[in-house]
Assembly symmetry: C2
């Protein structure tokens, strides 16, 4: 290892090979603070050539590595394991925006760029980079790409995969694949780009990307609808999509219990309705015409929904401040839930047509497995993606509740599978769900994944133990 690190110092300069325990600590623990791994060193390259140099050394010395961006992942994909033989490769110094081409609607960025910075650079050119998620102030685009991150803009703009036109990747052999052409159409062979996107660093290291930009909408208007059931929320979704088409850019479900938690823990948050209702939907409309036009469409949709008895009540935000306040209800749910003690998260997706049935049945199954626990159900209903989280019964100790985690996961994920869903809609597999997925993914798919992993990374050095066990 010392010889390897010496060679790394020759590539990076000694100051960018961190080995002191104090320097390492920030890189070894996951965001939720649940797991701390071990590592001999953190390597901090400044450019793609240095990454290639390091990966050649890893290959030569057979040293495994864990690529890391903002380390905001939720499935232990970006921290090393307990073996202590894998180095951490931090991409955060590679944070240049290489180019913006507003006419081609593209931007070339390095992997370590913070998502929010990319959004701002796009806005400066009167363009929109639509990827948006809670961690945007600290997550990096390399991590977003490696996990194919979702977020709140998927309904209209797709996952990160759909927002990328080209990649630069360093392979497990330390070779640079530079495929940074900003083309909408290019049918010249296998889709290597999409193979590296979502592979969580297990097939190679993404060092740069060409991203898609969009025209900025002229107006964004938000509304909150109150209704009785998830089934009604789905009726509202059909109604809104039919009327708004691609202008409907968000459709988020929140149960009343979610909002009650928010009001309990965030004293400045106010319920916009006189009484509470069992379910709420946050809708966002992005209009290329005007705010008045957007508002008129929302009024029509809401009028129709009230008339058809789909919703009980609704408010349309009258200002940016009101829009923001409605979004904060949605965004504060996770934090409010954290205040209620440790909770068990499920990041799942279900075919949209079956979600209402899924919630009804699975709520019962969870209550049977863990009586009196509290369902915190919310999420990107328009994408079929729920954060189907479970909080402990009032007064239960964290440790007692977490002891039930495996049993609750099994109930929820078996139900997801029965409904043809996915046990990881937007967070990835990492180390956390690597074993669990083998229960739900077919042997043929697992074999194909393993075949690809073995072919591209024969010594199993790229983020070993994540996504798939070889």
């Amino acid at each position: 290892m010392e010889e390897f690190l010496q060679a790394c110092r020759a590539v990076l300069g000694a100051q960018h090979v961190l080995t002191d325990a104090a320097d390492l600590s920030g890189y070894l623990t996951d965001q939720r603070g649940r797991y701390t791994g071990k590592s001999p060193a953190v390597l901090r390259p400044a450019d793609t050539g240095q990454v290639a140099g390091l990966l050649k050394l890893c290959d030569q010395y057979r040293v495994p590595l864990v690529p890391q961006g903002g380390n905001t992942g939720l499935v232990l994909g970006s921290v090393p394991d307990q073996q202590g033989n894998a180095v951490v490769l931090s991409l955060k110094r590679m944070n240049r925006v290489r180019a913006v081409d507003p006419v081609n609607n593209t931007m070339s960025v390095e992997a370590g760029c913070i998502l929010q910075h990319i959004q701002q650079e796009a806005a400066a050119q009167r363009r929109l980079f639509p990827l948006s998620l809670a961690a945007e102030g600290s997550c990096t685009i390399g991590g977003n790409l490696s996990t194919n991150a979702g977020g709140t803009g998927v309904l209209r703009y797709g996952n990160t995969r759909e927002l990328c036109l080209g990649l630069e990747v360093v392979t497990a052999q330390g070779e640079i694949m530079s495929s940074l052409r900003g083309l909408r159409k290019d049918n010249t062979g296998y889709d290597l780009r999409d193979l590296f996107i979502g592979a969580e660093g297990t097939l190679g290291v993404i060092t740069a990307a060409v991203l898609k930009l969009y025209p900025q909408p002229r107006a964004q208007v938000t509304a909150l609808a109150a209704l009785q059931t998830p089934a009604q929320a789905l009726q509202l979704l059909s109604l809104a999509q039919d009327r708004c088409g691609p202008a409907l850019t968000a459709f988020e479900l929140m149960s009343d219990f979610c909002l009650q938690l928010v009001f309990k823990h965030f004293q400045d948050q106010r319920m916009p309705f006189g009484t509470s209702h069992p379910q709420y939907v946050l809708l966002e409309l992005s209009d290329s015409e005007s705010e008045e036009h957007a508002r008129a469409i929302f009024e029509e949709v809401i009028g129709n929904a009230l008339e058809q008895g789909i919703i009980d009540d609704a408010v349309i935000a009258a200002s940016m401040a009101q829009s923001k306040a409605l979004w904060q209800l949605r965004e504060n749910i996770s934090m409010a839930q954290a205040h209620e003690g440790k909770n068990i998260k499920h990041d799942i997706s279900i075919p949209i047509s079956r979600i209402a049935e899924f919630i009804e049945l699975t709520d019962k199954l969870v209550q049977q497995a863990a009586p009196a626990c509290r369902m915190v159900t919310f999420g990107h209903l328009g994408d079929g993606n729920l954060h189907y989280n479970v909080s402990p019964p009032p007064g239960m100790q964290d440790t007692d509740f977490i002891a039930q985690q495996a049993a609750i996961n099994l109930v929820v994920h078996d139900s997801v599978d029965n409904f043809g869903g996915s046990i990881s809609a937007e967070h990835g597999l990492g180390a956390l769900k690597r074993e669990e997925i083998t229960r739900y993914k077919s042997p043929v798919e697992l074999k194909l994944m393993r075949t690809i992993k073995n072919a591209l990374d024969p010594h199993n050095l790229m983020n070993p133990g994540k996504v798939i066990q070889v």
Copy 2:
């Protein structure tokens, strides 16, 4: 071979193993009639189980196979070569729509479904399946997926890749990968779907897919703008996208020479302007509000473009019939060009911001290489995709002109590469461009492609000689 064919008959029934020369002929020649391959048999399975049975036999007897759908490809990807040892696997009997789920906005179809049939099934449920291309009356969705077909809806809806949520594939070992969950979000491992999409049958055989559906727009309005240069067309594109956002669903460039050819060979086609102009753009707007609304937006865009001197003139179609007539100008170009003798086609893409410069420079280079030849330049400008075709000088013999094909291709494709473009935007590589691509794709990419091919198809039985030589 006879023992193999006997085993195939046991799987399919004798009547679906075609071996008579007369029965085979329709399967061996490509659509443009330029190439006829050799094959001992055409196999016509009726379901996925039979495909798996056949691929197991191919693996066992080491018999190569060429998957074929509607055989409408333009790059010799779906016909066998001259060696005569590969069987043709026709998917055309597998043409069932397995399910439509209008609430989930998905449709499950078998590979042999004709594209137009899928469009019609979607429309019957008041949904849109937006893939649309010239061959839609005879091409199959399996072929569309295997080539990641483009077409006229890419600007808004993306390539075929973006329209697919899940696949059923039979691997080279004859195993069935069934991954037909109709989910918008599913981050549980490597993106196998996108690896098979666009692989032109060289990694496995696509037997079924889950497709994305969209709400039907309430109105579609078409306009034709007349202008001076491709640079102005790009200015118009920015203006229209800024104002229309995702409602702009087509943006097609046509040079005056293209339309002159149409008027020459289609007597019923009329020029909608009093005089001719150097360039034309066909725009289509899909509106979820009303025809009046769409028309008002177009009037605003066109008014602004006239005021800014970007365009010289424009017409907005006043009826469906007029819309259709404008589209026919665009759609008849290929046929009109065919009447002018053999031509040399280039299906290229360029970063949109560089297209005007590309056309200007490359036109000159082509004239140097082949004096007096005529440029037939048109295509999906909004996607950066041009059909940059070359017709012979008036009076030149076909054979004399085709003798210059390699030289002209080299000039055009080298220029494409210099501009950071692609030499196959939407048609794929097949056998036609397999060698040529090695000049432009990096050795690292070619090596990765070969590694994947070898890993998934170690005996090189899946459409051998297409896409990549192993």
